[in-house]
Symmetry: C2
Subunit: 368 residues, 2 copies
């Protein structure tokens, strides 16, 4: 029999697409220090962002990200207020060169949202889209209509709603790549030097909502015209070490703790292997009863999207209800596409995935 | 003798200007629920912003702000990612009408920062400034050169660096007032209906950094031209009940807890009285040894700015050092103006203020 709870905190297995599960040891550490951070006599939340104590918090987070992702010195690491949606506007404000349309590869909801801001701010071209195939695969390199004179190419590395993920990134020649990695940052090894900008809302893999991690080629940041409001110019945040204004201090602290946790796990080589193992457990269950609409080589290791009996909504509702009762939460698919979705970011333990797999087998036995 | 610590958590009295002290019961509650929010089996940080549980969190925060500040139905309450600096750009993007320069009353660092964004985005006029008096007082009503055709009037209700605070707000006729209340929001009673926009970075009086509370006249929000990126249009955030994108969920939760705490204290009538009492304890110590450079009627109840022997930097450094050793932290003045500053927002207990007063008397005895 399934148990409702798994540990001393009565926590459940949380498959939410984001905000999403955080590593339990990270939450424990945050709790331990919540009223008094390392003898400072106050919470991290109560601390001046210009204090010596917070300098240490900031350094830990930044050095952690730099080490975990092996970020080269050419690239600055920024912790900004906001999230990916904010970056959808901030990136073109900084990097668009008039007369050089932005290229965007449209692979689902998140690139469509980015397009709504490109429409307001720039000229742009959709270099490829798989919308008429319901985003069930990623465009192939040979399908991309890339303009060698584009300001930059925008792509989304992992699509939480569609359930696709780039395994290798497109070649764009000399045109800088801007990658929205909100949902798979620090989930696998990465050659950061190949990207002009990587941005990520924190709330899937690295911390609480309200913080955007931005990794940016410092030279590229100098492109920004002076007509952009100061707050939106990356260069000011780089120059001020993410303290142009008061940064989201508690979020930065949490990112640092998540980086500490990743190091303890053995870094991205180990995490990547772990994420592959977890995803395989679920994708291996796909058969006639459970179907994954996504082309096999493009399937996301972060968001496993699937249907019951090819889209039996009644059974899917039953699945969600019974799974929830069994302590497996957040499995309903995104409201735009329906179906089911298991989000299994870094913090989802193999134990949780196995509990879900056991539930799925049992559910099939009783309803298949 | 002074004791180093005051309670079971070994916390000190924190006079930081922001991020600043939070009410201890709020932190205790957050800690209690950090790994499992009210039986949901997960932290608030791990919760989908579209879940039923988070709906409750959001409702509690919004209803709390509405009740505490008596916000009329004409005004929307928004919880946005970012802070006041973000609003310095967002307000003119939404409310500036070409040909109708913005009026701004320059009372210190925070209005000067707002001006840097007005410079980029709008035409504007400085309706008054006391910069040549080192911002030691607020401009009088009769000094204001207000344009009845201005898009709006921008002011800062409390100036953390200068140590001034509006006791009554200027009359602006039919021109909407936009007030930056980052450092004195919910510190006293307020007639919200008189303001077009009130915004406040959370990190002084209502929660952790990374969240901006925006209270906005819904009709005024409709002014925004379609050429503004969607993310920066208030109307989208109003329409989506602060969930146009993933909001800073943990911060919103904390704001809700702070509102609960304010209700328990007896609301703004009681808090206002309490803040007056606390400030009086410190201002009553001003004499020949301790001097406050601020005109008496404009002195802030939130940030008590003072000098030792009219600006004896050596003694001031000694004061900070000895105060810190005595468990009184964050008393160094802002780096732009020097001197000393005690920030005594809502969460600063009278006990903390009295401990500081005792220390000040003793310090004067030994050094005066």
């Amino acid at each position: 029999m399934m148990t409702l709870t798994k540990n001393k905190y009565d926590r459940i297995f949380n498959f939410s697409a984001g905000p999403a599960a955080l590593p339990e040891p990270v939450l424990e550490k945050a709790r331990e220090e919540l009223l008094n951070f390392q003898g400072a006599g106050m919470s991290v939340m109560e601390m001046s962002h210009r204090s010596k104590e917070f300098d240490g918090v900031m350094e830990n987070a930044e050095a952690g990200v730099r080490q975990i992702l092996n970020v080269p010195e050419t690239h600055a690491i920024l912790f900004l207020q906001g999230g990916a949606t904010h970056q959808f506007a901030m990136v073109p404000m900084n990097l668009y060169i008039p007369g050089k349309p932005v290229d965007i590869i449209n692979t689902g909801v998140w690139t469509k949202k980015a397009i709504t801001e490109l429409k307001v701010l720039t000229e742009y071209n959709v270099a490829a889209t798989t919308e008429d195939e319901k985003f069930s695969r990623l465009p192939l390199q040979e399908e991309l209509k890339l303009n060698p004179e584009a300001s930059y190419v925008h792509l989304c590395s992992n699509n939480t709603v569609a359930g696709t993920q780039y395994k290798t990134f497109p070649e764009t020649g000399n045109v800088p790549v801007v990658a929205d990695m909100s949902s798979d940052i620090v989930s696998r090894r990465l050659d950061v030097s190949k990207f002009g900008v990587i941005f990520a809302g924190a709330q899937k893999n690295i911390g609480p909502a309200g913080l955007a991690l931005v990794i940016i080629d410092k030279e590229l940041a100098e492109r920004c015209p002076a007509t952009v409001p100061n707050f939106f110019q990356y260069r000011h945040h780089i120059k001020n070490d993410s303290r142009f204004n008061t940064p989201p201090t508690f979020g930065i602290y949490m990112v640092g703790l998540v980086m500490d946790w990743l190091k303890e796990q053995g870094g991205l080589e180990v995490i990547e292997q772990h994420n592959e193992t977890k995803a395989k457990v679920l994708y291996d269950l796909m058969n006639d009863f459970y179907t994954c609409p996504i082309k096999e080589e493009d399937r996301s290791l972060m968001n496993v999207v699937f249907r019951v009996q090819g889209g039996n909504e009644e059974l899917e509702a039953k699945f969600v209800k019974e799974a929830t009762a069994a302590g497996l939460s957040g499995l309903k698919g995104h409201r735009l596409v329906g179906g089911l979705r298991a989000s299994i970011y870094n913090a989802q333990p193999l134990e949780g995935v196995q509990a879900l797999a056991d539930f799925m087998k049992e559910f099939q036995k009783q309803n298949g």
